[in-house]
Symmetry: C2
Subunit: 457 residues, 2 copies
């Protein structure tokens, strides 16, 4: 069939499939700064915590039910659970659980959640093949770089069109990480990326359903299988990413190729990864952060007469739910977020349980929150004043919320987030051991001990 494409095709794209394959196959182990290496460890630990935390969720049960219908071999562990399944199934389920709470990492430039697809595929393969922890971290950094660079090139048009960019680029990141772990040469790595390029996953209409966290899981599984296929001699186009009817021009009219090629091997996108301190949309984070600071300054809920909140217009547009009925609705309520910040000093998954949402003190406090739009306030900021019963006023202005690039979570905060999710699943003692194993992962001879620690005793 000789038809002309109706979208203007760019016939002069640089050979990014080949360039990325060279990079993934050849870049030296730990060929980056200490800061990049540290961020890789933080990314990995945060991902493990999220996956363990959601491992008993109904989403995990449903996914595992389907995987077990295949009677899989016991090749790889599912974080937080005793079942063992084949590598592909483990990549799928761990990718799903790590994004189930929507509490994982965010590459802010593209709003990709990069660890979900990449770490899920890499850990399952690494455990099975006996790769070292060093090799796993190398694969994670390189895989995330591939996914986020492709995302940078297509964002925002690709996302605006309807793609859940975590899944659509995640397949490539997972394929890259797995190709690296399998030690594929440059040619076969290009084939792995090429096979993955035919499998972009995820549309945004799924947000609010189990299929949203399915996207990183399915991307991880597809990337892992793409690398295995390439290892066994399966072929794809060597221009599968950039050709006029290759993946990128098919799924995005915007393709800024320089985002892939510039400083490749010098600048690492994992440096721009962030971690959510609060289990809700990022737009509410400055307001919650401000309320936790008021609490730290001694403000108590029963003293409060009114809380005045000045925020960016997006906050009320997306999260203006005044009277949330349950945990899911509360995720879209800046009022609930503020009450949680002031009463608990945190807003993790526990603070979004239905019973917390309906507690009398939470209901009373959130009704005292008055939010107004102020166009001088940035999306990353919030201005909050508490009016107390004794006539005192306490004011906090948050310029950069905790968890943003300008104000990242500390290692101690990340550990608290981790144990807040994983303690209940693994017990406190095992959880502490797992934290230590995550911090020392690059020195581990293989991943088996770490996966064992992530399994309930």
């Amino acid at each position: 069939m000789a038809r002309n494409t109706q979208v203007a095709a760019d016939h002069h794209a640089p050979p990014v499939t080949r360039l990325l394959a060279q990079f993934v196959a050849r870049h030296p182990s730990r060929g980056w700064s200490d800061a990049v290496e540290r961020e890789a460890h933080r990314t990995f630990m945060n991902w493990v915590g999220c996956a363990v935390g959601a491992s008993q969720h109904e989403t995990a049960e449903a996914a595992l039910g389907a995987v077990l219908a295949l009677q899989p071999a016991a090749q790889a562990g599912i974080l937080g659970r005793r079942e063992r399944v084949d590598m592909a199934g483990a990549a799928l389920v761990n990718g799903i659980t790590s994004h189930t709470f929507d509490f994982d990492d965010t590459h802010l430039k593209t709003i990709i959640h990069p660890a979900g697809p990449v770490a899920s595929a890499a850990l399952a393969l690494a455990e099975r093949t006996g790769s070292s922890g060093r090799e796993l971290i190398d694969a994670l950094v390189l895989g995330i770089d591939v996914a986020c660079r492709v995302g940078n090139a297509m964002y925002p048009e690709h996302y605006d069109r309807g793609w859940h960019i975590t899944g659509s680029t995640g397949t490539l990141g997972a394929a890259a990480a797995c190709a690296r772990l399998l030690k594929l040469d440059e040619q076969k790595t290009a084939m792995a990326l090429g096979i993955a390029a035919s499998q972009p996953i995820g549309v945004r209409e799924q947000f609010g359903t189990m299929t949203k966290p399915f996207h990183p899981g399915a991307a991880g599984r597809a990337g892992l299988m793409s690398a295995l296929l390439a290892q066994h001699g399966f072929t794809a186009s060597a221009k599968a990413l950039e050709a006029p009817r290759g993946m990128m021009q098919t799924v995005s009219t915007k393709n800024d190729w320089s985002q892939i090629t510039d400083e490749l091997g010098d600048r690492f996108e994992i440096s721009f990864n962030t971690y959510k301190p609060f289990a809700c949309g990022i737009v509410i984070h400055p307001s919650i952060d401000a309320c936790t600071r008021l609490r730290a300054q001694g403000v108590k809920a029963d003293q409060v007469e009114r809380i005045e909140l000045k925020v960016h217009s997006l906050v009320l547009e997306l999260t203006g739910k005044k009277e949330p009925a349950d945990g899911l609705q509360a995720k879209f309520s800046v009022y609930h977020g503020c009450a949680a910040g002031l009463i608990f000093g945190r807003a993790a998954e526990d603070e979004y349980h239905d019973n917390v949402v309906n507690r009398a003190d939470m209901v009373a406090l959130r009704r005292k929150v008055v939010a107004t739009v102020d166009d001088t306030i940035d999306e990353a900021s919030a201005d909050v004043t508490a009016f107390l019963a004794d006539g005192q006023r306490m004011h906090v202005f948050v310029e950069h919320a905790v968890g943003s690039l300008a104000n990242p979570m500390s290692d101690a905060q990340l550990e608290a987030k981790f144990t807040g999710m994983a303690d209940a699943v693994l017990g406190a003692a095992r959880c502490r051991e797992l934290v230590a194993a995550c911090r020392g992962v690059a020195k581990a001879p293989d991943l088996r001990a770490l996966v064992r620690l992530a399994t309930p005793a």
Copy 2:
């Protein structure tokens, strides 16, 4: 993130996810005409033959290598091979092999090859769960209807943009067929379609590589897993197909919803399915057909001085290769096709082996073919005149080539095509039994005997 989509979104689409789910879940068994039922059997048999035929190809070996790395359980057979793998792996490999020769079925309105994804998923699941042959044929008709109706709605814009429409709609068809086999209710069938909607497979840049036949295989596997997930309670958007950021509006700017809703349950798209008599692009078929008719009229290669061919311009644009060096190049040579038609009376996969392409009589004859573009000749037609050594002229005008909708292959021709591919793999006796099993499949209590017959003794 509150971004406006840059593509005009249709907010008033009918609820096609729900309508298709109702149709798939509720349409009565064999609720169609004898003609539809007959076409379903022809589609199934042609698909089995193609899969058996390519079962020893290097593409099959590479795919199977990757699947075996998962140490799959022996749940389902791979047509033409002794290995047994899990359902998902069988759907993948059978989908790949059935499209490896590019010799399978074609829904001409959309150029979807519908059996690849749908039959691959359905047979693997049906064998494993013990479904009857009747249930398999029901699932095949309904699944193909879903894939082709979605294809009709998006074609041609979606294809023009770069999507390999067989894989992008095939996931939905496979999910529908598997939901039917699992007897999912309307609600869970909608979830299966919804989960599948996040997994469109395949870009056209892959044409000419193993990843082209990977598309129907991966679509079949994804559809099967989507149905299993829905069965286990996994959720998706109930508007995953039609919503502004659902699948269809994300992957196509053209969406004619009436193509999905009109005559749903009355008109069946499998009625418009066709089967290739020749193992090459459809555009050459009229010319090859004309040459086989000349042969039937007694023309022999060694009598021929010259063959004059008048064809549509597309023929020389796409298949003008004058001196093909091997089988792959010969697929793009109308000259080779004409020589095969006259010398062998056929142009199946065997006639595209390298040694046939380079046979002295083939080389000599194809050099005597003179092709010219004639704008009065339709794409579906060819005008061929043979000038013989004794001065005779033989003329054939083919209006509708064999294998077209207007001139379908007869059941005998389909059987000859089948045995031409499968005899070498299974032996002639077993192959005859398999043909009978395919013809009687709707009466089979389960699919196990049929799959056994498709396995080398």
